[in-house]
Assembly symmetry: C2
């Protein structure tokens, strides 16, 4: 299939007049054809106008139609075959196995949301029946369902060219909620974006939906992204990226005449607390697991373990030595883009130059452009507590070991942390009391707390939370992975005393859709 470099709007392709983006093969530094000229503001207007026009019809599609649409997107992506994987490999430097797995996750998550849509629990249907005889005032009939917020802007993420991009989690959950989606493609994988975008366009057409349900725009710089979030027809947005980029767009969303929810996932150092008995017993095994988690995908995962907190002493020294040995045998992996590589080198160098920070280990330098040399650094707890700069994420395979004098200092570190996507406890039975002291602190800091594992690898399931207090995300009340994500794009509407002829089917007497409903305070099941 030809990649044209065009915007995808309302079922057709539109050549853009803007500054062109070149996709770069980060392994070689060479540009890839074709160029992707950015969208004009008129094209952005058109995409938003079509999305707004499609909303009322799309949000009232039957649950079955909407579920089938999500499944059709998955099968259209699978039908792209190896072309998609090859293009994504060239644009991102990620290896085949990782991208094949990511495609499976992307399609799996579309199918999971199809199940969620069919299930209908997200409608949160509640009926309170009239009680005309109630004293002192009669009770009127009230019925509630949730509906989509409106057209949603989705920003493709650099580090998941499939699972957090054009047909990724934000798109899947917004479409599941009944919201048309306008995607701003990430400039680091525009060809991958177009292939997936065309797959969605085919699914829209095959399912007979209004063409405005989906659009894909390209744009260099921040103009198109900013204009998209500012457009009055857009009612929510999903973003995964840097703290500075997320914060800037979040401010645009809050500064509108009508502020809108802006779900930014931005920054997390994912602290790993290695408790004494576990570290003493398993230093070597932990070092292997840690080194693999640190360097997977060249460290370019939102849940990469960026901090290790442990007691200073022989066990920690053995752990650090074992990590150093493991890293020394590793080749440097290609990073996603020259920009991300530059930022990584600068972040790593800055960290190494901070007062009191010692370099512990490195992977090999690597040959060729844009290679990520993994790094492990160490600092004592008092210095960490006094240095806000050490709390910041270095995006890539770099981690910092915080050496504590005692358990109280480990607890102090936990209290001092900013919001996180994850927090990890490495523990044995003898560590349970220490873990019990840390747990309530970590619950207030992180969206996911894990034991005896490493935080990379995010399961797409009902119980997942990929979220957390600021700055991990802009909104800790939600998640961007897992079925709970659908709630980000919904709002409740109450219907009081509405004639049966006007009531949405989900709220009708007799429960024609067979939904789980809360009726007069009691669950009514299928």
């Amino acid at each position: 299939m030809d990649i044209t470099g065009h915007q995808l709007i309302a079922g057709t392709a539109h050549p853009g007049p803007g500054t062109p983006i070149d996709a770069i093969d980060p392994a070689s530094g060479e540009p890839l054809a074709p160029a992707f000229p950015g969208a004009s503001l008129e094209q952005l207007e058109l995409a938003c106008q079509y999305a707004a026009a499609a909303f009322d019809s799309y949000r009232e599609t039957s649950l079955e139609t909407r579920a089938a649409f999500l499944e059709r997107i998955a099968s259209e992506i699978e039908a792209l075959g190896d072309e998609l994987i090859v293009r994504a490999m060239r644009e991102t430097g990620l290896p085949r196995a990782r991208l094949s797995g990511e495609r499976a996750r992307t399609c799996g998550q579309l199918r999971l949301f199809a199940r969620v849509v069919r299930d209908g629990e997200w409608l949160d249907v509640r009926l309170d029946r009239a009680q005309p005889e109630r004293q002192p005032l009669p009770k009127l009939d009230h019925r509630l369902r949730k509906i989509g917020l409106g057209p949603v802007a989705v920003f493709g993420a650099s580090n998941f060219p499939l699972a957090f991009s054009v047909a990724g989690g934000d798109t899947a959950s917004a479409l599941a909620a009944g919201c048309p989606v306008v995607v701003k493609a990430h400039g680091a994988h525009p060809g991958t974006s177009e292939l997936v975008g065309r797959a969605i366009q085919r699914a829209v057409s095959a399912t007979g939906l209004p063409a405005g349900v989906f659009a894909l725009l390209h744009g260099s710089g921040r103009e198109i992204g900013t204009a998209l979030v500012a457009d009055a027809r857009i009612k929510a947005a999903g973003f995964t990226g840097s703290r500075s980029g997320g914060t800037a767009l979040w401010r645009v969303a809050q500064g509108r005449a009508e502020p809108i929810p802006f779900y930014a996932e931005m920054s997390s150092v994912n602290p790993v607390f290695m408790l004494p008995a576990a570290l003493e017993a398993r230093d070597e095994e932990l070092a292997q697991g840690f080194a693999a988690s640190l360097t997977g995908s060249a460290g370019q995962l939102c849940t990469n373990p960026g901090l290790v907190i442990a007691l200073a002493g022989p066990a920690l020294e053995r752990f650090k030595s074992a990590v150093a040995l493991a890293l020394a045998e590793m080749d440097a992996s290609v990073m996603l883009s020259p920009g991300i590589h530059r930022a990584y080198v600068e972040g790593r160098d800055t960290l190494g130059r901070q007062h009191g920070v010692r370099e512990v280990a490195s992977s090999r330098v690597g040959s060729g452009p844009n290679r990520c040399q993994a790094g492990l650094f160490a600092v004592d707890a008092a210095t960490f507590l006094a240095s806000p700069a050490l709390h910041e994420e270095v995006f890539g395979a770099t981690s910092l070991v915080i050496e504590c004098d005692d358990q109280a200092q480990m607890s102090q570190i936990a209290h001092a942390l900013e919001g996180q996507l994850t927090a990890t406890l490495i523990l044995d039975d003898a560590d349970l009391d220490a873990a019990r002291e840390l747990l309530p602190v970590l619950e207030r800091k992180a969206g996911r707390i894990l034991a005896n594992g490493f935080p990379t690898g995010v399961e797409v399931c009902d119980a997942m939370v990929h979220g957390g207090p600021y700055p991990a995300t802009s909104d800790s009340r939600t998640t961007s992975v897992g079925t709970l994500a659908i709630e980000r794009f919904l709002r409740p509407v109450c219907y009081q005393n509405l004639p049966a002829a006007l009531l949405p089917q989900a709220l009708a007497d007799g429960n024609p859709l067979g939904l789980v409903r809360l009726v007069d305070g009691k669950r009514e099941s299928h």
Copy 2:
């Protein structure tokens, strides 16, 4: 019981050093003893510090203890007896019947949240069990529950001195969610606030909870409110009041180092669409119902019908004449405070002076200070569409009739409206097609859509939505009335592979709390 004018912090009373507030009897304009000197910033710090210290313990109280606490607050409020009603009457000018009803609603809503807490569905428990044999990667154990966001700031509202104030909906839902509450008392009913605050303090003590679970602060001007929202220990806030006040505090919440959810309910004109057949058949009856809804509580209800949209013609003329007759027989009611009365007079006068606006009717002038002279105005649809000033709320018993040429113009009005708490359809069978055209527009504009009634009177139930798109509220994803309100103060936390010894009881194997849980995608019931 003596009203002392003190702040209530950590189970004790603290005289404030700040500028004193005098409660004013709006019926006479006379001040009421005692004075309420405002809190110092140190007292505010103390309240927030105690709230933060109480959070971990309070959020892990058993469901039964927390439910009993809410019920105890209700019975302590009832035990205040007539003293509470008399004080509230003097401070607000509201009549005894209204305040007795409001007390019943306040206590009923505390007891409703006790039911919600016991039920435990708000925990949203989800378990995805481990599948060690899964290919290509084993599935780990994941479990999710929701926990409280942290200490919550609640702003008392002027117009509901009980149901939206110290122990009102925001406090009840935040306490139900496991969040300590720091209330900023409204300056128009500080004595009522202290009486209710002391009732809550007694309930805290009787239930054996940490004293930091509740605090009450006074303060004139905006200093204390602003400092409260800015305090790093406060993790969410609830507000009901003016658009300017709500917007100012919302900006403080967004400008913090860690932005927080700020739930402001601000402004709504609550459009009533009177469709032709219904208006033709029932003009007289509609006029009676409308006049009662317009003038109840001197028009000082968030859901007061501020706009009537109908076709110009004889039926509308008959309706207006009947409203005029009804208003002419009504006495002007006392408004809540001199400040609200001043703003009402100015808002009403400004509306009357707008280009194209005609005065249709008024209630009597009334004798004594702070009386609300109800007003009905009319304007043609084209002028309304061209005049943004006519879309703004006049808080009090004033409404504007928009006279349309045809159905298309009624639809244009619907499209042009800002976000609303409510939208009303007055219809007969012959109006169904017109209603079907308006309904999807109104769903996008309002949190509650009602038929053949008037929007004042908000039922506290599972299916209620008292919310809506901006500027009706700052967050359309939620409601401030009804059981769904608990979700405003919760966030999800995922526990991955946690040893049984550390798992919260709600997530334990064997479901010891007997909760409704989602286990591997299926509902597991009690």
